[in-house]
Every structure is written in structure tokens, then in C-alpha cells.
Symmetry: C2
Subunit: 717 residues, 2 copies
């Protein structure tokens, strides 16, 4: 087998060891990392060279001369309660002055807004004044004991990623990188000319690793130098008066500060997006695509490749969006935390290749004496591998200090195995479609745009409010299921014909459950008809939730359950008995439901309750004409839950008979089949030996798999 498909970091004065590890791991590309530089010698050893490139930061010589072109954001002040004496709002309170400064260049009266947050009403501009010395807004007319806020335009004078690294690593007086806005004329000109020059000056760089383009996801720090607000999807830092004016010209209406601060929620990806925000997203994406395309063209003209990092200043590039293809980027690289993030990268369309950066990052937090970095590496690999087997990234790689990793021989050896296993896997399957038994549509307010990106706040961080929902995508990321991401418009007039099961997951009111979308009778009727005609609906958490017309779950009739909010306590709830046997739980233990739900009750005896805990239905199914509803109160990821979820999907689709095809009874084992090659893989997703009954196309047998093993077999074996 050929070597390659592996990228490693390197650094100064590390030539020989780099060569050794390249050989051992079969690496064919070398990258720099934050804080490392590659020596010239290193660039001559035959590897492809990736170089990190910042478009809109890291050029303070330019930025300091053009502070009028610094990036901007609308910020919301704290809420201040008015008294009879009046109300004065120190609107900068709580923000980090090193990052965020009021932008007095633009007329506050034109762009800022003062809101009465008790009534939700805008205060007329003539009723307030700004003190630009003390950064105060004083109201001239007010209602005592109402709460008021100021939404103000701020200049972002510190790139959030550099700020984060700077503060975390205590970089002292190292200059703060000022992000500039390439929508502005000088910045626009600068970014192209600088890149052209840079390419000329860096002839050894084969791959320009854009990190990333123009606008950072929303990340504001507080006055304690700690994170105050973070939304990995947020378009908050793309704003400028120029942008707003261009938007108004194109769309025929003016966006206001409130369209961005959104009552303080800042259009979090958990909010059902407003029409204005969706328009604005499209507006920014088109701009970013147009401008990024120019840079890619420059790179291509210089005979190099353009790669983008999926993160940091990625706003506007959303790879599943309608404009990404316009950029013409060659490759995307992103960090792989689990199966879901692997698929998020590997499924990206319109690129020549994708690359996954695996964990651990070669940093001292993991690579220190006495710790075994192999543990994290194994977990990362086994977690992601099941997703690779569905749709592999084209390359894998690592980041950090290679000199640190090289001191851990067991780790070095293990990565040797991983890279070898990856290449074999890739060779076998990258051109063939794996067998899928069902097509499932994840239904939420974002749909395709945020494929594999539901319920994320900050990249891969744990939140109590989301882990019970993350099991849905994590399960699917490595299962024999084709996955589509659909928004409500995609199904309003009819569910796409190839969908077997729709899945709606999340807390009431969020973009993921759907919130006010469930007000729409058309949507409800379409989905009701679709299930009645044989479709399957799986709801997790508070699916289809919107309090109206005597129901909380608007598809309670399909799901067979609803949630008691207190109003219907007077109606007796008789149905609490669990069924003794059910296809879904036939050979796995009852699942863990994570945070669970309270007060979920079965509507009638027709609802089959599989799990009833703490006075509430946690898992139930319900036949609805020709179709079925399935309800889970929560579904954190575990192998057992993934298997139960898989069974639930087949059950919802009425395809129970097809489950036992390319299936393993042991939830720690999975089977992936590739019909075009008549081959299949049996994988042990754990670090222990596993035994399982395996179902192939038409027979079954028992297999014993070594820890972490992947076994490739022919259909006829």
C-alpha cells in the first residue's frame, strides 16, 4: 500500500526526527502550528508544505494605520433599571476594553438603539444622549422601574482567537492582532496585494492553509478577561455600517442593531432564525464567497493549493450553504472530536479533499511525563473510525509540537498503526457507497445549512442542556443510515420521497425543536399525512413543541405522547404500564435518557410505553395509520443508546425485517458493508475484546474481535 494521506506538524531544529516520524507514519505533508515555524531545510525533504495564513489579522502594520476599517459588532449593554431619578447606562460594563471599544466614528444616533426591555419598545433617538468621554447613555424620558439597554456599535480591536491564545498562554506584551474588515476599501486592496507578495516570498509553501478568511465567529470576552459570549455559528462580528447600507440597497430594508443583539440572544444558533437574520446570513455568505474566491484565484495562479480551516474566522463560508461552492477552495481541514465532527468535515461538498485533524493536539496539557497520550488517541480514533467507515475524510493529520510527541514512543507506535489503518480503510472504501438500510431526515430550522452541526454552542464543549440530544447525530455518524438535514421549508409541501424517517430533536422553542414553526397548520398536516401514509417520526426531548390549540407537542397524535404543563392536570392520566416486549428494546438494556423529561404522558392505551421513569414516559412508540411515531426523552451517546436508536429508526420506518442485515447484536460492534465491492468491515469500537453475532446479507455467525479490531471480509467468505 502507498504511504501518504497524513499531515504532521513540525518545527525549527527538528529535521532528523521529523524525517523519522514521516517515514514511520507515512506522512506526506508538513504543517506549521500556532507558535511554530518550519526551517527551510524541512521544506526540502519532499513533503507537501502547508502554511497557516491569516487574511484579516496578523498584519498590525496595516491595521494600525486603518483603524477606521477595524471589524465591528453590535453589542448589548447590561439591563439597567430606571428609577424615578432617571437612568444612566454605562454600556461598556462587563466587556473587555482590550477587545471591544465603542465606535464613535459612526453616528450613535443613526446606528445605536436604546430599548425599553420591559415593554420591548424602542426609545426614540431624541430621548437619549451619549457621553463619549465616560461611555454613558443617559435617557431624557423614561418609565421608572422599566429596564433599559443600549445596543451600540463596537470596534473589535483584538482578534478573538489570538486573544484567547494570548490570554490563555499569558503572552504578555505580545501585540494584539487587530482584525480588519475586508469589506472596507483599504483592507480589500491590502488582502490581495499582501497575498500575492506573500506567495512570491514563500515559494516552498504548497498549500495555503487559510485560518480562515474574514470574520470570526462571535466571541466576546468580559472585563475579567474571560469568555462572555460564544457562538460558533454567530455572524455578529461581520457587521459594519457599510455592510448594513449595502444590505439595505440589495434587500430593500434596513437592518437595525436589534436584528443583531436579538434581545441579548445574538441570534444564537439555538434561536429559530428570523427572516432578517437568514437574509443577512445569505448576504454575508455571498460576500465572503466572492472575496474568498479572489484569494483562491491568486493562490491558484501561483500554482498552489488553497485549504481552509473549518473554524475561527470561518463565518460566511458555511460549507453546506448555497454559496460555498463559489469559493473554489481545494480542501477543508477541521478538528475531529467524534463521529459527528468527522462527518461534518468528510461530507463537505465541492472540494477536492477534506482533512481531519485528530486528537490529541501535541501540547503539554496531554504530553507530560507520567501521562499516556495513547489513551486519548485511541478513544479519538475508535470514536471517529465508525464515521470514517461511512464517509472518510481524504487525509488525517495532527497538530502541535512534534518534538513533544516524539518523546512518547508508545504513542508514536500507535499513530503508526492508526495511519496505516486509515490508509487501508480509505483505499478500500473511498470510492464506494456504503450500504444503507434507511434514509433519515433530521428536521430543524437550519436544515442542510448546518448539517452535522446541531446543538453546538462552542465547538465540542459539553453543556448539560445539549448532551442528551447529541447522541442522535453521534449515533447516526457511524450507522447504516443515509442522513439528510432538512429545514421546515423543505418538508412543508411534502416530505422528500426518499425519506423513511424524520427525526425532530431538542428543547421546546429552540431552532432544533422548531418553536413557532409548529404554529403552521400546513407543516403539521403535511407531516401528519406523511406518517399516516407510512412514514416514521422520531421525536427526542420536546419535539414539535408549541403550545397551541390544546396541545404542547403539535404532533402528539402521531407520537402518542404529550407534555403536561399543568393545564391538563385535571384530566386523568392512566397509561403508565411498560410493554413487556418490544422490537426496539429486544436485546439491549433500556437506555440512559440523559437529562430525561418530566411530565410526558401517553395519550391513550394505543401508545406503547417502553420506559416509564420518575412519573414520565421516557421511551414510547405509537402506530399512526400506516406509519409510526417514536418518542425518546433524551438520547446521550453510548453504544447501547446508538443501537437502540438504530432499532427505533428501523421500527419507525416499519422495516424491522431489514435490521438484521449488516448488523451486530453486540452494541460495541458494528458492521459496514460496501455492495459495489461485495466487502464488509466488522469493527470493534472498544478497546476490549468483543464477541458478537453478526448478520450479513443473508446469514449470521458469531465473531470474536480483538480490542479495537477492524476485520475486512468478502460477502462470500
Amino acid at each position: 500500500m502507498e504511504k501518504g494521506r497524513v499531515t504532521i506538524p513540525s518545527e525549527s531544529n527538528f529535521l532528523e526526527e521529523t524525517k523519522r516520524l514521516m517515514a514511520l507514519w507515512g506522512a506526506d505533508a508538513i504543517r506549521d502550528s500556532d507558535g511554530t515555524k518550519l526551517d527551510d531545510e524541512l521544506k526540502q525533504i519532499g513533503a507537501k508544505i502547508y502554511t497557516t495564513y491569516f487574511v484579516a489579522r496578523g498584519h498590525n502594520d496595516f491595521a494600525e494605520k486603518h483603524l477606521e476599517e477595524v471589524q465591528q459588532a453590535f453589542l448589548l449593554s447590561e439591563r439597567v433599571t430606571a428609577t424615578k431619578e432617571g437612568v444612566v447606562i454605562p454600556f461598556l460594563n462587563g466587556y473587555l476594553a482590550e477587545q471591544l471599544q465603542p465606535n464613535y466614528r459612526e453616528d450613535p444616533k443613526a446606528w445605536w438603539e436604546v430599548y425599553d426591555r420591559t415593554t420591548g419598545e424602542l426609545v426614540p433617538a431624541e430621548d437619549w444622549e451619549v457621553d463619549q468621554e465616560q461611555h454613558l447613555v443617559t435617557l431624557k424620558a423614561w418609565h421608572p422601574y422599566h429596564e433599559y439597554t443600549v445596543s451600540f456599535l463596537a470596534s473589535m480591536v483584538w482578534d478573538p482567537t489570538q486573544m484567547y491564545n494570548h490570554i490563555t498562554n499569558d503572552w504578555g506584551d505580545k501585540p494584539h492582532e487587530i482584525p480588519f474588515d475586508v469589506r472596507q476599501p483599504e483592507s480589500q486592496a491590502f488582502m490581495s496585494s499582501f497575498l500575492t507578495n506573500w506567495l512570491a516570498e514563500n515559494p516552498d509553501t504548497d498549500v495555503i492553509r487559510f485560518t480562515t478568511f474574514f470574520y470570526h465567529f462571535t466571541l466576546f470576552f468580559n472585563d475579567q478577561r474571560k469568555e462572555k459570549f460564544v457562538d460558533w455559528f454567530g455572524y455578529g462580528s461581520t457587521v459594519s455600517v457599510r455592510a448594513l447600507k449595502e444590505f439595505a440597497k440589495e434587500y430593500g430594508y434596513q437592518l437595525r442593531a436589534e436584528d443583531f443583539v436579538d434581545e441579548g440572544y445574538y441570534n444564537s444558533t439555538f434561536r429559530v432564525p428570523s427572516k432578517a437574520y437568514l437574509d443577512y446570513i445569505d448576504f454575508v455568505q455571498r460576500f465572503v464567497a466572492k472575496e474568498a474566491k479572489k484569494l483562491v484565484a491568486i493562490v491558484h495562479e501561483a500554482g498552489r493549493e488553497a485549504m481552509m480551516f473549518l473554524g475561527d474566522n470561518w463565518i460566511g463560508t458555511e460549507p453546506y450553504g448555497p454559496h460555498f461552492h463559489e469559493i473554489g477552495i481545494d480542501a477543508v481541514v477541521g478538528s475531529v472530536g467524534n463521529g459527528t465532527t468527522l462527518r461534518m468535515i468528510s461530507e463537505i461538498p465541492h472540494v477536492k479533499y477534506t482533512e481531519g485533524r485528530f486528537l490529541p493536539y501535541f501540547f503539554p496539557d496531554v504530553f507530560y511525563e507520567g501521562n499516556d497520550p495513547t489513551i486519548e488517541a485511541k478513544e479519538n480514533w475508535l470514536t471517529a473510525r465508525r464515521a470514517l467507515l461511512r464517509k472518510p475524510v481524504d487525509r488525517i493529520g495532527y497538530g502541535g509540537y512534534l518534538s513533544l510527541a516524539s518523546q512518547f514512543p508508545e504513542f508514536v507506535a500507535y499513530i503508526g498503526e492508526v495511519t496505516e489503518e486509515f490508509r487501508e480503510l480509505y483505499d478500500r472504501i473511498h470510492e464506494v457507497k456504503p450500504y444503507t438500510g434507511l434514509k433519515v431526515g433530521i428536521l430543524n430550522a437550519w436544515g442542510k445549512l448546518r448539517s452535522w452541526q446541531t446543538h453546538m454552542v462552542a465547538h465540542a464543549l459539553w453543556y448539560q442542556q445539549i448532551y442528551s440530544y447529541l447522541g442522535v447525530l453521534e449515533s447516526l455518524s457511524g450507522q447504516k443510515i443515509e442522513v439528510a438535514f432538512l429545514n421546515f421549508d423543505d418538508v412543508r409541501d411534502g416530505v422528500p420521497a426518499d425519506i423513511d424517517v424524520l427525526v425532530n430533536v431538542g428543547d421546546a422553542g429552540t431552532a432544533f425543536s422548531g418553536g413557532k414553526n409548529w404554529q403552521d397548520a400546513k407543516l403539521i398536516a403535511t407531516l401528519t399525512e406523511w406518517v399516516a401514509s407510512g412514514g416514521g417520526l422520531v421525536g427526542v426531548g420536546e419535539p414539535t413543541a408549541y403550545l397551541a390549540n390544546g396541545r404542547y407537542f403539535q404532533l402528539a397524535n402521531v407520537l402518542g405522547v404529550d407534555k403536561e404543563l399543568g393545564f391538563s392536570l385535571s384530566t386523568d392520566k392512566y397509561f403508565k404500564e411498560e410493554v413487556s416486549e418490544h422490537f426496539i428494546t429486544a436485546h439491549s438494556q433500556p437506555a440512559d435518557f440523559g437529562e430525561m423529561q418530566k411530565n410526558i404522558y401517553a395519550l391513550s392505551a394505543d401508545t406503547k410505553i417502553l420506559r416509564y421513569l420518575d412519573g414520565s414516559v421516557q421511551l414510547a412508540t405509537h402506530d399512526f395509520y400506516e406509519g409510526r411515531g417514536v418518542y425518546f426523552s433524551g438520547l446521550p451517546y453510548s453504544p447501547e443508546n446508538a443501537q437502540i436508536f438504530l432499532r427505533a429508526l428501523f421500527y419507525a420506518a416499519g422495516k424491522e425485517a431489514e435490521l438484521n442485515k449488516w448488523y451486530a447484536e453486540n452494541p460495541d460492534v458494528e458492521v459496514h458493508a460496501y455492495p459495489a465491492k461485495r466487502q464488509y468491515a466488522i469493527v470493534n469500537n472498544t478497546d476490549q475484546e468483543q464477541v458478537s453475532v453478526i448478520y450479513t446479507e443473508n446469514h449470521s455467525y458469531t465473531v470474536t474481535l480483538a480490542a479495537g479490531a477492524i476485520e475486512w471480509r468478502d460477502y462470500d467468505e
Copy 2:
């Protein structure tokens, strides 16, 4: 001390034993019970005789001849999903035909309603037809896959209480008592003439125990002869076409079926009441008061007393309502389940006396060989006694089969002690006001009308959704707090001057939390100003909850906490540390919070967190200008929680210094002082010996109390 103030049940052939127990318990009144009759001899032994009297049921000779005057209710059918083929609604499905029959006497087209429950739209009457043979409604125009319901007028042909007893006790072919509607002319005439005759025929009856007047609380049974819907406060069974027409004439608008079926919630007491429902309540109360007054006049003319039972057919009498006083009833008797229900009875205004029926009822479910009925009696007495010490009922009593109770000598002896203790207590305090340190207002959508009646579904039944809130009233029922019940109109223009602390308790959206009332900026501003000026606000559960303007708890600024619904996950929540010391928890263990809440977070470091569990604030306080907010996630009743709540109230009022006055450190002990008499009682609320430090007006000492003891002392002792 005199005997008396005690009512006992008796029965046929039980003369001598009745005399013995009367003497032993100091009883001065005898009552009949369900299924018992008093012999004539018994009526001559010098006791007052109470006789149960049914106004609008138990007269089938009359009712069967006037079925056109039977009581009625609007019922909602099950929701039926339309298909392309159509929709047919078997609207009686799920109702008990023995109780409820469609009323075809009144034109369905005029009074029934068909609703599209997917859109919330009324279907025009010309678009549906009723099949009166098969009890089906068929739509002539419909939207496929919408859900439809029929709201129909039903005749109630079985009194719900008799039905319940009949079914529970398996009374076989005993006739079903048909309730008739005294708003109808024949019934109206009958009720007065019958009572007049009855009084003449029952000269030995001293007290007519109305059980009760005209309309039963809402209680529908299902086709399995089990309870389907129960609302102890429901006005659903007061309806008739005549009533609706009279209402329209008086109020200038027509009520429709939907005003009663209310999307299926039937105006549960948990619903924030609509204007129409409040109008209708007033309308019924005025009618009931007017008609009951006539009956009371007849009783008085005959030289007897009129007593009403608080329950069963009590709808329209609500004793805390504005029209109750018009009835002129002499007494109210009700069942005492705990301190709250004791206060619910003892505080009733405009009567000569109140009577509490204590537990256990002398029925075989408790009085059987091998069981000790004294246990329930003790628990009932000790639970209610702390409320008696705040405001006693004027009499106590028992119900059931006296012959059964008399077989349990220990029980008989214990009731002897209880009755003696009651009389002593009553003699000492019934004319004096106990010391109170604070005045607390319970703020909800019902206010005074439902004093001591919050969060009740069916009388005293346990529900998972309410027990965490019941601790508020149960605590207050026996504490040195003056309690007022306020609705939102009562405080909108200003909180009454004598209120120290407002308490808002319940689940979001319910009448008890307040739901859409919290949309009102005036209310919010008034309460904000009031707390800022020194008031205290205590919130329990989801207080002031209404999602708007960036907040869920509309008074989050006062309470210092809000609830995360998912939209603000992007905002970092840093405040999780519990304070090490706090007045509220100074000498009791942290409380049990019942069902608790999830996702409650502190807004800033200014919020003092007393308890942080499961990722959520459970107990916190917050200073707000001159006043304070206190938040509890739940407060089920326990002595420890009651004490913590008491401390929280004093803290919220900023009157911590006054807590240690007539106060016991041990939560199982309480102190009740009566300034006008310069006496106080120390009570041990448990069945074990207790030791406590006691704080009097100006000093403290330690006391040891025998199990269940009450010790009376003078201030100067």
C-alpha cells in the same frame, strides 16, 4: 371547662354507645353520614341534630318527570384526524353513557361547535351534520390531516358524588340520582316547596347540612367507569341554554361552547382565567347566592340553622368570593386534610361558625382489625393544630360509622384527648388575634377568590406537579405570618401598604405563576418599584415566568436568577458557588426542593446562591435597591422547609432582627403568641419528645416538650 364544640356521627340501633361516646368526647351534636340514618330516640338525647340535605339530587320522583331540566355541561370529543376521505367524529367516545348523554333537545347547530384544532378555527355550522341515532358528527368540508373536535351539550343524568360512591361501593341497581338545574322553572319551584315540606316533616333536625347546593364541581367519568376529568373548582356543570341566554342579556355577549371546553382544559383552575370565564363565574355566583339565600331563609323561618358542606355541589358558593355573604348561611363544614385546608375553612368570612371534619373518616378502609386508626388521627391532629393555633374552626367533628370507631378503645381515648385539647385551645384563643411578624401576599391570577386553595386539582390528592408548591401554604398555615391572597389587579396600581412580602409560586404559564399577566409592563414596573423601595419578593418554581424581551422570569432583575431555555447557552454562566453562611439557612439543614428546577442560573455575582444542585440554582437571594428577592426551586412541606421558608420571608422583608421573637429553633416546635392575653403556646408538632430553644418577646430559654405536647404560658412566666 365546658363540653361541646364537637360533632359526631351516629346511626341506627346505637343509642347507648352514642351516649357514652358523646360524654367521653364532650360532643354536643350528632350528624348522619352517607348511608346512615339517625333513630328518633337518638334525636332526643339533647344533642343538636345535623341532617344531610340534598337540594338538587336525590329526588328522582321529580327529576325523572322533568328530564328537560336535568343539569348540563359542554363536553369536548376526542380529537379525530381527518383523512382525504373525510372525518367522522364519534363524539361520545370515552364518556360514561350512564353519566353523560348528548342533549338533542337544544339545537346542536345553535350550541355545539366543531373546531379545527390544528388551526384553532371554528368550522361553520353548515359544514357539519349530526347523526342523532349513532351520535356521530360528519364534516362536509374539511382539511385532510387536520384534527377536529366536537364540543357538544350533554345532559348529566347522574350526580357525580353519588356516582362516585355508587361505583366505588358497588351499589348495583340502586337508582342513579339525577341532578336537576334549579335555574329551570319546575326545579326552582320544587326546591323551595320540597324544603318547606321537609322541614315540617323533620322537626328534630336542628341544622340543615346542605350537601351542598346546586352544582357539582366538574367531574366526568370515562367509559371504563373511572374518573376522566376532575376539577374541584370547575364551573363546567352549571351550564344550560337558559343560563347562556341570561348571561348574554346581562353581559352583552354570548358565551360559546369553546368558552367552557377551553381547548380541552375546561378552564382548569391552573389556567389563567379568561375574561369570559371570570364573568361567567361571577354570573353563576350571583345566581347561586340569590337562590341559596332563599333556601336559607326558609330554614331560618322554620327556626333551624343552615350549614353548608364545602365540597361536592359547592360550585358558585366560593366562600371567599364577593357574593358568598349574600347567602346568609350560618355555618360551613369541610374536611380537614392538613393545615392549609383547616385555614381554608376557619378563615371563611360571613358565617356564625365553621366546623372542620377531621380524619380518619370512620370507614372500614382504616378501621379494620390489626390497624391502628390512632396513627392517622394523630398525624391529622398535629398537622392541623398549628393552623388551629392561628385561626381555629369553631367546631370539630367526625364522620362515618360510629359503631366502627367504638371498637377501637385506644382511638376512642385519643379522640377524647383531642376534643379536650381543642376546647381548651379554642377557649383560650378564639377571640384574640395571634401575634404576626409579617404580612405576606400570595400573588396569583385568582387572588382572594381562591384563598388557601392554590394548586389544588382534586381535593387533597397528591400530584407530582403540585407537591413542590404546596409547602408554601402549608408552612404559612401555622406560622406567625398574616396571609393575604392577591390577584394581579390587586397589585397592578400599587402593592397594598401593609404587605411586607409577595410570594409568587408555580409552574410557568399557570394561573399560580401568572402566565400572560407577566406581559404587562405596568405590573412589572409596579412590583419592581415596590421591591426597590423595600419590599420582598419570594418566587418559587417558575415565578413571574413569561418569555419576552430577553427574559423568562420577568422579574429576574429582582430575583437575581432566570431560567435557561436554550437561547442563552452562548452566554457564559459563571455563578455557581454557594455562600458559606446565610441568615436563611443559618440553623437548619438545606431543604428538600421536591421536583426542583433545572437550568436556573444566577444573573451575576450579586446573587447569593444558597443551594446549587444538578447544575441549577435551587435557593438564592438577591438584594435589589432597598428590597430583596428570594428564589426557591420548590418547597414541599416539611418542618425543616417550613422553618427555612419562614426565615426566607423575614429575610425578604429585611426584618431578620424580628425573627427571634416567638420563635423556636427546633423546626418541629413552634411558638404562637397572643398579645391581647399575654399568653403563648409552645407546641411540639411531632409524636416524639422535642427539645428547643424558645424565643419569647425579649428572652430565650430551652424547653423539653413531651410528644405532641402543647404548653400554654404567660408572657411573664
